[in-house]
């Protein structure tokens, strides 16, 4: 405890438009200490750290580095105060070697000599025990190696305060323990380390203290040795908040979509969903909970025919008929008469075309119908107008490009279109992200109405309160695997929280 403070935040507040990302946050990090910042998705962890790395500028509050108040307006300022942040999305030049990336942009007024630079980098590597081939190109590297390059890059610039944003999200357990070894060595070297995470066992294993954020607010800081998974989860998810979302009981549920042992890999060859099996039933909302990036997107895209499966099958059943959707393209799925709608996470980059007006966006799904070479804009126009009316979309008219609408209205247009095709299965990913309260409830009500009409709904969400009140069943996934399926009516927030954060290693131990 005798270590001096490296960083202190006092009363930091950051507001984006209507959304308060951080509210009156205090934080302290000492030299020679590893601090965890714990919180759910959207709790404001990354925003807070981005104010230290110079990406955002706080609206209110003070930042102290080594006891002195500082103003950090740009990444350059941040370097000046020896703060280095390792972002989730690496900023590396693919065709450069590791060394080239590490020395990029460093102005040390020395003659450029890649061999000299390499020697200096080598010293850092030996000091902390990194494992990396400095001559390999970034595009040849695994995610973990890329992360190593990012960390060395920050150290090469002399950082004494390191911030790591969910560093283990992309790592295997072996890679994770290697990383922890390195972080511990840095701690011995008297560096201050902040690690953003929501994996509880990692917090307990690695850190000295934990600061918890919830919905942008600072909840508190505890000594890790005094904390347990239970106590941290309680701090993280908080008391249950009642939202009063209407939830009628499922009427006559029938198996609609049966997913059997599916596995898929991403472009790096890493398995992103592993051996997932579940059944979605008609008249029921199946929630999917999990930390962002646990395979939710790939799971939905696999069902929609956008992601190749390396194993397993997806069966769609209506009235006694069964269709296997595996390895079918979206067009083939549609041609087979499968009524599947999908509201993707990326609304303007995937679900809609930002520069097209509402009418043309209505046509995305239906324009191919009929044999005419020409488009039929009559029906889409009627649809657009009825959606604008029934969902109260705020827009000058139906010919306004959707990118000009606010987030909530964009989402209404997208969900409205997907519901309009009378789906039997409706998949929605983070449908209320970025939406205000009223728009969110409009979406919940729409989904519930669809459920009452007998649609099987798969709902990927991040707010546990919403999942618990809206969904009939909640499936929890973690690192591409199912860690549990719970009943929405009896589910307890902490239970889901633990299922979300325990990793596969623990899961095996539990079995």
């Amino acid at each position: 405890m005798s270590n001096p403070l490296a960083i202190e935040l006092k009363g930091v507040t950051k507001v984006f438009g209507q959304v308060v990302a951080n509210k009156d946050v205090d934080l302290q990090v000492r030299k020679g200490e590893i601090l965890a910042i714990l919180g759910e998705n959207g709790s404001g962890k990354t925003t807070l750290m981005n104010m230290l790395s110079g990406i955002y500028y706080p609206d209110e509050g003070q930042i102290f580095v080594n006891g002195e108040e500082v103003v950090i307006k740009s990444p350059k300022d941040s370097f000046k105060y020896k703060i280095g942040m390792i972002h989730q999305h690496f900023k590396l030049v693919d065709v450069f070697s590791a060394t080239e990336n590490i020395v990029l942009g460093v102005n040390d007024n020395e003659k450029y000599n890649i061999k000299q630079a390499k020697k200096r980098v080598q010293k850092i590597i030996e000091k902390y025990g990194f494992e990396i081939n400095l001559d390999s190109k970034i595009y040849e590297m695994s995610v973990s190696e890329k992360q190593t390059v990012e960390i060395i890059k920050v150290l090469y610039r002399g950082a004494d305060i390191l911030i790591l944003d969910e560093p283990t999200a992309v790592l295997t357990p072996q890679e994770t323990s290697k990383l922890f070894g390195i972080l511990r060595r840095m701690r011995e070297d008297n560096k201050a380390i902040i690690i953003i995470t929501h994996k509880l066992h990692e917090v307990l294993e690695l850190t000295d203290r934990v600061s918890v954020l919830r919905k942008g607010e600072y909840i508190g800081t505890v000594e890790t040795k005094d904390a347990t998974e239970q106590s941290l989860t309680e701090m993280m998810v908080g008391k249950k908040i009642s939202l009063n979302i209407e939830r009628p009981d499922p009427v006559n549920p029938k198996d609609r979509l049966i997913v059997k042992n599916i596995t898929a890999t991403n472009s790096d060859g890493r398995e992103v969903i592993k051996d997932i099996s579940f059944t979605a039933r008609s008249g029921e909302i199946l929630g999917i909970a999990g930390i962002a990036g646990s395979g939710q997107r790939e799971l939905l895209e696999s069902i929609a025919g956008l992601h190749h499966l390396s194993d397993g099958e997806i069966l769609y059943m209506t009235g006694g008929e069964t269709v296997n959707l595996r390895d079918k393209s979206p067009t083939q799925i549609r041609d087979l008469g499968v009524r599947l709608s999908f509201v993707p996470e990326d609304r303007l980059g995937m679900g809609l075309v930002g520069n097209m007006d509402i009418i043309d966006n209505m046509m995305l799904r239906s324009y191919k119908k009929g044999n005419s070479v020409f488009l039929d804009r009559k029906k889409p126009k009627d649809l657009a107008e009825s959606i604008i009316k029934s969902l109260e979309v705020v827009t000058p008219n139906a010919t306004t490009p959707v990118r000009r609408l606010s987030g909530g209205n964009v989402q209404k247009v997208l969900v409205g279109r997907e519901i309009a095709s009378n789906p039997k299965v409706l998949m929605v990913a983070y449908p209320v992200r970025g939406l205000d309260i009223n728009s969110s409830y409009t979406i919940y009500n729409l989904l519930t109405k669809q459920k009452e009409n007998g649609v099987a709904i798969i709902f990927v969400g991040e707010d546990l309160d919403v999942l618990i009140e809206l969904c009939d069943r909640i499936m929890v996934i973690n690192s591409g695997r199912i860690t549990g399926i719970v009943d929405g009516r009896t589910a307890v927030k902490e239970e889901i929280g633990i299922l979300m954060t325990q990793d596969s290693k623990e899961e095996k131990n539990n079995e």
């Binding site: 108040e69 103003v71 307006k73 929609a304 393209s329 799904r365 191919k368 070479v373 020409f374 804009r377």
Partner: protein, 367 residues
Amino acid sequence: MSKKQKTHEPLFHIAKRDSLPWYYSWAIRIIAIILALMVSALLTLFLTDENPISIFSTMIDGAFGSSRRIWNLLQNIAILLCVSLALTPAFKMRFWNIGGEGQVLIGGLATAACMICLGGKIPNTLLILLMIISSIAAGAIWAVIPAIFKAKYNTNETLFTLMMNYVGIQLVSYFVNIWEVPKGSGTIGIINQTNQEGWLPVIGEYDYLLNVIVVLVITVLMYLYLKYSKHGYEISVVGESENTAKYIGINVKKVIIRTMLLSGAVCGIAGLLLVGGTNHTITTTTANNRGFTAIMVSWLAKFNPIYMIFTTFLLVFLERGANEISTVFRLNQSFSDIITGIILFFIIGSEFFINYQIKFHTRKEVK
């Protein structure tokens, strides 16, 4: 609170504009054109000592001064518009087809080949029919080669189509040498001058009326195709977002290849009109850089076929007008290129003020 950091704060920053009423954006463009014309007038003034009024009236005279000149203007508009229309579907798809020059030439070459090799041997109607088919096919083939490689290997289309231009030019040069009349002249002269076999028919007394009508029809068709057909819709979706295209099940590769076939085919028609309907001969400069000018026409018109009529008119008017200036004031022909260049610079630059806005910082005190 340390004050010294304040120097770091930039005075203004640039932000993307959300939207701009159409009249505002057109006002910006018109101001740009007026400024450009003023600069051009100053330049001309400097070189000729004529007053600006007479310079502009000379330009107008050069473009509209006689019925002959008006027809020339229309003919040039028609051909340039045709090439611009051809390139537009590719551009809407974000496929940079800068190979219009080569595609037009190859279309013209196919036309000339039919006229030379088959003229007089088969009925004229059949000959013209063959010319139409072969010019369209030739242009389409020339354009689809880069498209296939783009679809298969993601080969850079800008550079590929650019290179295809010069392969095309040399191919024309080869055939010009083979067909040259008289031997040793290096040109092929007017093809079938005596019997006019394969010459596209003249409507009434107006040499170029047919071209104008054909291009008008193409303009309307292209407008309808892009705006109202399912293909046109797919082109827009692919151009805007490949992710969305995949999400709704569009076969992106197929769309690329199909669109480039169309693009090349219309270029082929431009070649047909040039060789069969206008020049009745072919040289390596038959396309006269229209493949490149058309890129600017199409881009300035925001890829809208109807606006393209105006942008084509603007560019052709400038060219004819500047030509007239050079003749009247005894400057040389290339003067028109300089004027065109200056005006393009201004219009290109003006787009910035339409798409972006400059926000000045109002300093906000931080407590």
